[in-house]
Subunit: 423 residues, 2 copies
């Protein structure tokens, strides 16, 4: 018996480029534009489910190959979605959205493709039933999802351009000022610093300064595996008691396990555990106490719930990772976070750094440190078609086709390699 419900008749994939400030990280610096793909899935009932994914060339290629095999699929047939995508992609090259989300893998390349469509199917399911995505995921356990302020070292503006208005942040004072601005504007209740940029002593000072300025705010530091194990030991010893968790101090499960064994500070990851294959060795080694989920590369909303169930079962904490994203993904992240009882940490989001948007305003925003779950149906957000068209033109014009933080840094510092660990 075929599965009932609306089935797919057409899929549109629209790459967009959005202005992005020069945010520094362990491998380099954000380019002037970040790429995303907007997915629209039309059904025979006239419903359009939407989603948002990475927008780099390899992703777009996979999305287009996968889309060609999805006609006729019921929006309820999530198992069929995975099966069809595996068939459509056939042999697929290992990939990862960035060097900041773990090693490239075939599993991740397939999972990120499945996720892109699965979210759109959930949006369509919601529109077909009048339900919110969080309700389709089992019901909201919270109607407001806490997000953390994502602090970045940054230049005042992109090289050769005007300052971007976010301000320069290259030392503890700059980071505290940035945190103050974000907390004042969005009410964030916790703070995360993207580290691995400067020598650890400077970043330790930044954390101390944040602790002094925001004594009640949980703090996190994420050097994206830019430290050796000995450096990680040293920093962990300095920051024990000051951090809620330390994220990916060093590379790989064995290294993380070595650091974990020597500190009481909880270690978190979105780099050494990024596919389900990574979970058993990480559990066996005791490498991490918290996993940062990300529906974009874990395989979608249901896969993220599967990860949540594993974390709950194995006594691991669960938080949420973010890459640069727009409002469709913010809505998906919020619905997902609302439906996972054991997602007990404030989620990461790059939202505050984006000044361009593809959704109609008003549906979702961060206030008082939380995003209220959109009312729905589905994701509860609508595309601003003019904005999509404009940002697609920007995509066509910008020339960027794959994120390259290393190469962009090299335009400023010709000797830059981005090789880790640097400290």
């Amino acid at each position: 018996m075929a599965i009932a419900g609306p089935s797919i008749v057409d899929i549109t994939i629209t790459p967009v480029a959005i202005a992005d400030p020069p945010l520094l990280n362990s491998v380099g610096v954000h380019e002037p534009f970040a790429l995303r793909a907007i997915i629209q899935v039309r059904t025979d009932d006239g419903i359009v489910g939407i989603s948002e994914a990475y927008g780099d060339d390899p992703t777009l290629d996979r999305l287009r190959r996968a889309a060609a095999g999805l006609k006729g699929l019921s929006v309820w047939d999530l198992n069929g979605l995975s099966r069809r995508i595996a068939v459509a992609l056939g042999a697929v090259a290992p990939d990862s959205p960035t060097e900041l989300a773990g090693a490239p893998s075939v599993a991740k390349a397939i999972a990120s493709t499945v996720s892109a469509f699965e979210v759109a199917l959930f949006d369509a399911q919601g529109k077909a039933t009048g339900l919110r995505v969080c309700d389709l995921l089992g019901g909201a356990v919270r109607e407001a999802v806490p997000f953390s302020a994502y602090l970045f070292y940054k230049w005042a503006g992109h090289p050769g351009r005007e300052p971007d208005g976010f301000g320069e942040a290259l030392d503890p004072d700059g980071i505290v000022a940035q945190a103050r601005a974000l907390v004042d504007r969005y009410g964030f209740g916790s703070l995360k610093l993207k580290g691995g940029v400067f020598p650890p002593e400077e970043e330790i000072e930044a954390i101390r300064a944040l602790h002094d300025a925001f004594p009640g705010h949980p703090l996190r530091l994420d050097p994206n595996a830019n430290w050796t194990v000995p450096t990680s030991h040293r920093v962990a010893a300095e920051l024990a008691g000051l951090l809620e968790y330390l994220e990916d101090p060093t590379d790989g499960i064995p290294g993380m396990a070595e650091v974990a064994a020597a500190t009481g500070l909880p270690l978190a990851t979105n780099m050494c555990v990024t596919t389900f294959d990574d979970v058993p060795p990480a559990v066996a080694a005791g490498a991490v106490r918290i996993v940062l989920s990300d529906h974009h590369f874990w395989g979608g909303l249901r896969a993220s719930q599967k990860l949540a169930g594993i974390c709950e079962t194995f006594g691991l904490g669960l938080s949420m990772h973010s890459n640069t994203h727009l409002g469709v993904s913010l809505a998906a992240m919020t619905h997902l976070a609302a439906a996972i009882p054991n997602l007990t940490y404030a989620c990461d989001t790059h939202s505050v750094w984006q000044v361009e948007e593809v959704i109609e305003p008003g549906a979702i925003a961060i206030r008082d440190g939380v995003a209220k779950v959109p009312d729905g149906p589905g994701l509860g957000v609508s595309l601003d078609e003019d904005a999509v068209a404009r940002l697609h033109q920007q995509y066509l014009a910008c020339g960027i086709r794959r994120r390259d933080d290393v190469g962009y840094m090299r335009t400023v510092h010709p000797d830059w390699t981005g090789t880790r660990p640097r400290f």
Copy 2:
């Protein structure tokens, strides 16, 4: 925002007793009647979702206490279901449906209560949307679910009563004849013998006889932890190569791990891993290679999918356990099995031993060794209200209020204790 969709206005819980043959197991023998509860959840849209659960007194008490707190709950709010049941039950005594499904625990008592209502909510969701339960679970990956022939040592009939027509089976010849009858009638492609009844040598002979009579049929043996570790070692050595898997030879994770370490024969369990808390120690010890899920005590259909995800992630096989049940549960088991990609073993079912039924005929049956997924909507089966009323009268008359295989055996063998391990 409240969750949309039909919400609960009324719940009916009807205990029923069904005739059960004298099936022998490690702790005793099945009584003349087995107890089940039929749950009917009525919504404000006039939809009635149905489910089937254990029917013993402690279960009924929990179901009734839980039901009192469920009015107004959306049929989509599965997280709310768990939360409300936890509140309604408050402090709950540890329980287990039988001595054959692991140690009593609070987790199992709550999980079995959640499951009873969750299945009914899924049935209601399906009726509200026109979808099958398997589609709501992510889509059927198979439209026909294989079941195994569940072979039992048994008496010709209950003491003091006429033979039941299933025949006596107390030796290898009797077991082979029973298997022949079940395979001829239902087309089963695999065979499972409930062991732990006679000295292991006799059960080894029965397995050899089955292997000779059905050389192409995968075989399983389940002595329900009635063997010591040394006995388990000995039997595993004798049966390596003859069994698809050996189920619960001995008690507890440490004992199972000891047996597993010494044999290439895969060990399966529905006794030492029966709650999510059991998974990490079992994984760490390498105690089992296959877990038998059972939505009734793992917490429902979504919880069973969570278990499936854990098994997939940790490289464990997944099969399905059965206690005595009726057609509503057979439908739920079939929808669930249809939607789990990594449920790769034929499922257990006691169906063939039940001559009484609560559902209208025709919706589900085992033929050629498989049950086709009912067409739906929801579970795709309907209650025969007359049958429910008749079996409820039988419940009132039979006097049994809690399964007691040990006590019933004692009426025949006064010295019987049911203490394990016996061999």
